[in-house]
Structure formats: structure tokens, C-alpha cells
């Protein structure tokens, strides 16, 4: 080929590559993943900026985030007669796997407002990777800004096994000489100049896929987290529950268990036992979804976790799981008016 022809083909190749990237960006941001981007909030730390989030890697949903980085519409001042609940939790509560209408916060709103005829707002304060360290550290902000009548705090094994003590997270718990304390962690952004690239779905998906391809022996998504053998979780669990009780008024603790539905004999996990005992001795309302999930599975074969594009029984809650959680929480939040 002549140099002129080579130049022409190279130009065509470049154009073709750009066009292919644009087409993939359009496909991925509508089907796979589209994040609204992140902003630094002075108190909450790095949160989603308001906008649309598309998730197609686990379930499929198009969901919306407000100015506080929370699911749903903007949170205004409380209107007279409004009952307001704040639900704190991790990705199980944030629930980007299900639509806005299916997440348990919305189902609770529907159930309670239908029952009372009064405006009800259940704020979904779930954040991916959040742990009780977040809820403790931000307790004052949440209560003074959002003014909830009652707070639900969702917990699971992952909180105590990995997230709570993870010093890389914005809020974590550190061991001190006389127990534990929460700490915040300024999150410096690695390679800030490259951040805008990650706003593109193509770079985000390619980065995650390539990282996954080269990572050997990592825990596959959806696998049940295992407690470290020999680690005494009791002091951490007891301290956490006591602190939650001290910083929130009558919080309801919601425990989402990891269940292997294929096991004939179901046994609670070590963390589950500890959390149940700690909640009982603290005198807090405690909801454990294990029985509800298993009963539903055994009567109808509906698995409350997992999706058609993942494995049933693994990963986050689907619409069945959210519905079951809402049915358990609604009577507690209504003060017994709903059975």
C-alpha cells in the first residue's frame, strides 16, 4: 500500500473506532450501567449527584437520585400531618436493582398512606458499602435535617465482617483502648484528571470487566460473606447496637440474612445470633427476615434474592424480597394499626 492509502485507511479506522465507541456508549448507558456521577457533600461525603442511574448488571432498573444522594424525589420540609420515616442501610436498602416503585421504602409509603389517609414519606437513605459507622457518624445530621418520626436501620453480616472496620471507606469504626469509635476518612481521588473518563459507561464497564478478568481468586459477586475464624465479633456487635440505640430514638433494626436456599437445614450465621441477642438485650424492635424469606420460598418457590440475569438466591433482594420486608416493617411503623 502507498503511504497515502495507509493514511486513508488509518483515518477510516480511527473514525470507525470512535463510531463503535459511541454506539457502545449508547447501548451500555441504556442497558448496563449509567451512573449520575458523584459530588462531594460537606457532611455526607461523596454521594451520587442528582440524576438517573441505570443498572442492568443485577436485575434491571432505571432509578433516580436526589440532591442528598438518596433514592427518590427531592426531600422537602415536612408538611403538617406527614409521617416521616428514615431507612438507613447499605446496597440492600439503596436497592438500585429494583425500580423506584418496587423498593421497600416505597412499598411502605403505599401501605401506610393507604391505611392512614395521611401523607407518609419513607426516605430511602441506603448507600452502597455503607455500614453502621455511617449511621452513627451521621446520626445528628440525619435527624436534624430530615426530622424523621422513626428510623429503620438495616444490617447484614457484611456490615460486621468487612465494611464496619474498613478504613478505606469514608466512615468506619476503629478500635480504641477502651472500645471502639467512629472515624471519618477524607477520600482522596486517585488520578483526578481521569475521573471524567469514569463518567462514561464504556470506560466504567471496560474497567470493571478487565479488572475482573485479571483478578484471580476474588470472591465472586453474590457469594455469602464468611466470618473470619477466631475473630471475636461480639464486642463490635454489642457496641454498635448500643451506640445506635443511644444516637437514634427507638430505632428499628432490620436484619437481612444471607440464605443458601439449597441447604435443607438452615442455621443462623454467627453474626445473626450476635445481632439478635444484642438487639434483644438493648430492648430494640428487631426484624429478622430469615423466616419470611424461607417461608415464601418453601410455599411458592419465589426466591427473595437474585434476578434473571444473576443466580436466584444470590446477591441483592428482588421485588419479592422488598415486598416481604415492607410487609414486616409496615405494622411496626404504623404503631400496630396495620397487621
Amino acid at each position: 500500500m502507498l503511504p497515502q492509502q495507509i493514511k486513508k485507511v488509518a483515518l477510516k479506522a480511527l473514525l470507525a473506532l470512535v463510531c463503535a465507541l459511541i454506539v457502545w456508549e449508547l447501548i451500555l448507558e441504556n442497558t448496563n450501567t449509567l451512573k449520575p456521577g458523584a459530588v462531594n457533600h460537606p457532611v455526607l461525603g461523596r454521594i451520587y449527584q442528582p440524576g438517573l442511574l441505570v443498572n442492568g448488571t443485577e436485575g434491571y432498573s432505571r432509578t433516580h437520585f436526589n440532591s442528598l444522594g438518596m433514592r427518590g424525589s427531592a426531600i422537602g420540609d415536612k408538611v403538617p400531618g406527614e409521617q416521616r420515616f428514615l431507612i438507613l442501610g447499605d446496597s440492600f436498602t439503596e436497592a438500585v436493582q429494583v425500580s423506584d416503585e418496587q423498593m421497600y421504602a416505597t412499598v411502605i409509603e403505599r401501605l401506610l398512606s393507604a391505611e392512614s389517609g395521611q401523607p407518609v414519606r419513607a426516605i430511602n437513605g441506603g448507600r452502597s458499602n455503607a455500614s453502621p459507622a455511617y449511621y452513627l457518624h451521621l446520626a445528628n445530621y440525619y435527624q436534624t435535617t430530615l426530622k424523621p418520626d422513626r428510623v429503620v436501620i438495616q444490617l447484614n453480616d457484611g456490615d460486621f465482617i468487612k465494611d464496619l472496620l474498613d478504613t478505606k471507606l469514608p466512615f468506619y469504626v476503629a478500635r480504641t483502648s477502651d472500645g471502639f469509635e467512629t472515624r471519618s476518612n477524607y477520600q482522596s481521588v486517585s488520578f483526578p484528571a481521569l475521573r471524567p473518563l469514569l463518567e462514561l459507561s464504556i470506560s466504567r464497564v471496560a474497567f470493571l470487566n478487565l479488572k475482573g478478568m485479571f483478578a484471580k481468586g476474588e470472591r465472586p459477586e453474590g457469594e455469602i460473606p464468611q466470618a473470619k475464624p477466631g475473630f471475636d465479633y461480639a464486642p463490635l456487635v454489642n457496641w454498635t447496637i448500643q451506640e445506635l440505640k443511644a444516637r437514634y430514638q427507638r430505632p428499628i433494626l432490620l436484619y437481612i440474612p444471607f440464605i443458601n436456599y439449597l441447604e435443607a437445614e438452615q442455621r443462623p450465621s454467627e453474626i445473626e445470633v450476635l445481632v439478635t441477642e444484642a438487639a434483644k438485650s438493648a430492648g430494640l424492635d428487631f426484624v429478622n427476615m430469615r423466616t419470611d424469606f424461607l417461608d415464601r420460598y418453601r410455599t411458592t418457590w419465589d426466591v427473595p434474592t437474585g434476578f434473571n440475569n444473576t443466580k436466584p438466591g444470590m446477591g441483592h433482594m428482588n421485588s419479592v424480597g422488598h415486598e416481604l420486608v415492607a410487609q414486616r416493617l409496615a405494622p411496626l411503623l404504623s404503631g400496630g394499626n396495620i397487621k
Binding site: V9, K12, A13, L15, A16, L17, C19, A20, L21, V23, W24, L28, N32, I202, V205, A206, N209, L210, G212, M213, A215, P220, Y261, L262, W301, V303, N308, N309, K311, P312, G313
Partner: protein
């Protein structure tokens, strides 16, 4: 080292670069043999010793068969070569299977034989079939023995087809060794595109669908009848894309180096009869079985009944060739019965086959596909109990309830499969993408990027490697 791994891409790039830079054809052939041995030894260096021993023995048998003129002596050498090759295969692949089966039968008599801790050398069935065809062809005087041991070693070890075929006709490959190995642009273009189609079939279809198939076949008792049907359909897609994807990559990588490997699949799921299916599925195995088993058994030359029986025997052995398990024997037996039934049907209803009605065509296609999919249950299940459980649930002979999992990946796999087969068919007809115009370049980049964006994170080994 599997074709869809980064290690293979690095390995293959080095091979191509070397073949491009070196001038001497002998050095190129020696390097290709060395590279093929490295490719095979990458799994386990001990496999290499066995492969070279098998090659050496068959080189010797080939020379004896070629030089010997007395018919009895030639037959003796042929029997010795076949016995040797089948003994190797029997020991490594079937020893424990037959001992376990014998133990099961003799358990009531209190007799028990010990099992051996044998590693199954990867691709052993393909290697043995390749060398058997080499010696039988010499015996039949269809081709001469090779002059050089290294030529035979390259026929056996040639890395694109070493692990899972296609099983090559020896003279077809050996005649290509007489030509100079050259890296040409048009071969790279065709080979690269075929390789890409194979990669799409393997990574984007077979591996993604496996994420659905594996858990369902592992615990079929908890899934609903509908989900089991979908899993069986998904497995039909998975095994086709896994195996034909491998073949496409084998054809593509061989062509990049200037070698031609024949087609092994020709849209098998469009078949309207089981006979047609076996003309389109794993063509090199069907051809091998016809040439080296069915015809020696008498084929259709000894009457109808004997022909039906021959079909059954061939397919039973084909089933056993796939794996040392009664599940494979049943799978092969069912296909044998179906082939015989179809033969009877064709023999006695000659007029019906000539009816060019779309309704008849559709019913024939649907029945063939239903049969093929149903028999895959035996092929995929770990044991008889699992196979029967799945079949009973599928055909509503027991409680059909269970978890309903309508895997999204299956519904995405279908259009991708149609697109990949369409591309491969066009390219085989010589209508390749031109990488000099925008359209061709766009399709190339779109597919390459698709591999990055849609590939599952854990690539599974090829299903046929175990055979």
C-alpha cells in the same frame, strides 16, 4: 492454555512473528512443532511424553505398513497398531470406568477390583483417532507413510487442532507440509475473522449461557419444569457455540499460518432429520466413524438389518468415545436408534421425503431439534439419576414446580448465535469483511469492543477438551 485466554494471544503472536521473520522452511516446521509441544505441555508436561510415544509408535507402524508387501503381514501390523492405540486410549480413559462397572456388577459376589489414580491426558481421544486414521490410510494405500517422524509429529501435535479436533485427514494435512509456511495478508485477514467469530461464540455465548446452565444441572430438583426446558435449550446452544467456536478458532489460527483445516460444523440445528444432523455436527468425527468403523463393519453392503445394527454399534461407540460414562453410552445409543429408525423410515416411505411442504419441513425440523435437545440431557448430566430427574420434570411425570429462572443471557444468546453463524457462513463463502472500508472496520471494532464489554469474568474451559 485455551484459545480465549490472554496467554494464548501472546503465544500465538510470538509464533506468527517467528514464522514471518524466519526464512528456512525446515526451521519454521521445527519451530511449529516445538510451539505445539509447548502448547500441549502447558497443561502438564507429562502429557507430552505420552503424545510423543504414541507418535513414535505410529511412525514405526506406518513405515512397516508401507514397506511390507505380504497381505497377512500388513494386516498383522494394522491389527498391532490399532490394538496399541486402543490400549493406550482404553487404559487412560476407560480403565477406571470398566473397573467401576465391573465392581458394580460383582458387588453381590463380594469381588472388588482396585482403581488406579490415572490422569486423563487432555485431547487423548482426538490424538488416538488421528493416528489410527494415519495407519489405516497407509494400510488401505490411500496415502504413503511420512518420510520424517517430525512431519507425523506435527500432524498429531499441530496446536490448532490438537486438543479438540477437527480430526484431520492425514494426507490432507501432510500435503500442506510440502508447501512453504508463509504468513500472508489474505490468510491473516480470513484467519483473524474466523478466529473472531469463534471467540464471540465461545466468550459471548457459550461462557455466558454456562452461568445459567451449570447451576440448573447441578441442582435440577429445585428448578421448575419451564426452567429445566430453558436450561436444556441453553445447553444445546452452549455446547454448539463452545465446540464450533473452538473449531472456528482452530480454523482461523491455522489459516493465519497458511494451513487449511476443513469445516467441522454446518448449522446443525437447522437439520430436518437426525441423519442430516450428523452430516452437519462434528463433521470430522462423523466422517471418521463412517470411514474407519461403519464401512469396515459392513456399512450398507450386508443387508438392511445389518446396516441398522451397524448404525447402532457405531453410535454406541461414538457415545463411549465422548466419555467414560454410561450416560454417554446412552446418549450415543439413543442417537444410534434414531439413525436406524430414520433409515427404516426413509427406506419405507421414500415418497414422503420428496414432499416439499413447509409444514412437513417444519415438523421434521422441530422433531429433530426436540430429540437432539432431549438427548443432550444425558450428555450434560453428571449421572443417570440426574438425567431421569430432569426428563421426568420436563415431561411433567413428576411435580413440575420449582424456582422459575428465566435467564436473560439465554434470550441474548439466541440473536448473537444467529449473527455469528450468519457471519461465519458468509465468510466461508468468501464474503469476508473488507478491512479497508469504513463498514468492515466498524464491524471489527464493534465486535472487539463487545468482547471487552460483554465477556463474563470467568472464562470456562472448552467442553470438548475432556474428550
Amino acid at each position: 492454555m485455551i484459545f480465549s485466554s490472554l496467554t494464548f494471544f501472546i503465544f500465538f503472536a510470538i509464533v506468527l512473528l517467528f514464522l514471518r521473520l524466519v526464512k528456512s522452511n525446515d526451521i519454521k516446521k521445527a519451530f511449529l512443532l516445538g510451539a505445539s509441544c509447548f502448547f500441549y505441555g502447558y497443561w502438564d508436561y507429562r502429557f507430552l511424553v505420552l503424545m510423543l510415544a504414541v507418535t513414535g509408535a505410529n511412525y514405526f507402524f506406518g513405515l512397516r505398513l508401507h514397506n511390507e508387501t505380504r497381505p497377512e503381514a500388513r494386516r498383522g501390523w494394522l491389527v498391532a497398531s490399532i490394538f496399541f492405540n486402543l490400549a493406550i486410549l482404553g487404559f487412560f480413559k476407560y480403565y477406571n470406568f470398566f473397573i467401576e462397572s465391573a465392581n458394580a456388577v460383582l458387588a453381590s459376589a463380594g469381588i472388588r477390583f482396585g482403581l488406579l489414580n490415572i490422569i486423563l491426558p487432555i485431547g487423548i481421544s482426538f490424538i488416538i483417532f488421528e493416528v489410527i486414521s494415519y495407519t489405516v490410510d497407509i494400510y488401505r494405500k490411500e496415502s504413503p507413510s511420512v518420510d520424517s517422524f517430525f512431519d507425523l509429529a506435527l500432524l498429531v501435535a499441530f496446536f490448532p487442532h490438537l486438543i479438540a479436533g477437527p480430526i484431520l485427514k492425514p494426507d490432507h494435512f501432510l500435503s500442506q507440509l510440502d508447501r512453504e509456511i508463509t504468513i500472508r495478508g489474505e490468510n491473516l485477514n480470513y484467519g483473524g475473522q474466523m478466529f473472531l467469530v469463534g471467540l464471540v461464540k465461545k466468550v459471548l455465548i457459550a461462557d455466558r449461557v454456562a452461568v445459567f446452565v451449570d447451576p440448573v444441572f447441578k441442582n435440577p430438583e429445585v428448578y421448575s419444569a419451564g426452567t429445566l426446558w430453558l436450561a436444556v435449550i441453553a445447553y444445546a446452544i452452549q455446547i454448539y457455540c463452545d465446540f464450533s467456536g473452538y473449531t472456528d478458532m482452530a480454523i482461523g489460527s491455522a489459516r493465519c499460518m497458511g494451513f487449511e483445516i476443513p469445516q467441522n460444523f454446518d448449522l446443525p440445528y437447522i437439520s430436518r432429520s437426525i441423519t442430516e444432523f450428523w452430516r452437519r455436527w462434528h463433521i470430522s468425527l462423523s466422517t471418521w466413524l463412517r470411514n474407519y468403523l461403519y464401512i469396515p463393519l459392513g456399512g450398507n453392503r450386508k443387508g438392511k438389518i445389518r446396516q441398522y445394527l451397524n448404525l447402532l454399534i457405531v453410535m454406541l461407540l461414538a457415545g463411549l468415545w465422548h466419555g467414560a460414562s454410561w450416560n454417554f453410552v446412552v446418549w450415543g445409543g439413543l442417537h444410534g436408534i434414531a439413525l436406524a429408525v430414520h433409515k427404516v423410515f426413509s427406506d419405507y416411505t421414500k415418497g414422503l421425503a420428496a414432499i416439499a411442504s413447509p409444514v412437513v419441513a417444519f415438523i421434521s425440523w422441530a422433531m429433530t431439534l426436540l430429540f437432539v435437545c432431549t438427548t443432550w440431557v444425558f450428555f450434560r448430566s453428571s449421572d443417570f439419576g440426574t438425567s431421569f430427574l430432569i426428563l421426568k420434570k420436563m415431561f411433567l411425570l413428576m411435580e413440575p414446580d420449582g424456582i422459575r429462572w428465566y435467564a436473560t443471557d439465554l434470550f441474548l444468546a439466541l440473536p448473537m448465535l444467529i449473527a455469528a453463524d450468519y457471519a461465519a457462513t458468509r465468510w466461508n463463502a468468501g464474503k469476508m469483511l473488507s478491512l479497508k472500508n469504513f463498514r468492515g472496520l466498524f464491524v471489527l471494532f464493534f465486535v472487539l469492543l463487545g468482547l471487552v464489554f460483554l465477556a463474563p469474568q470467568n472464562s470456562a474451559p472448552f467442553i470438548y477438551f475432556q474428550f
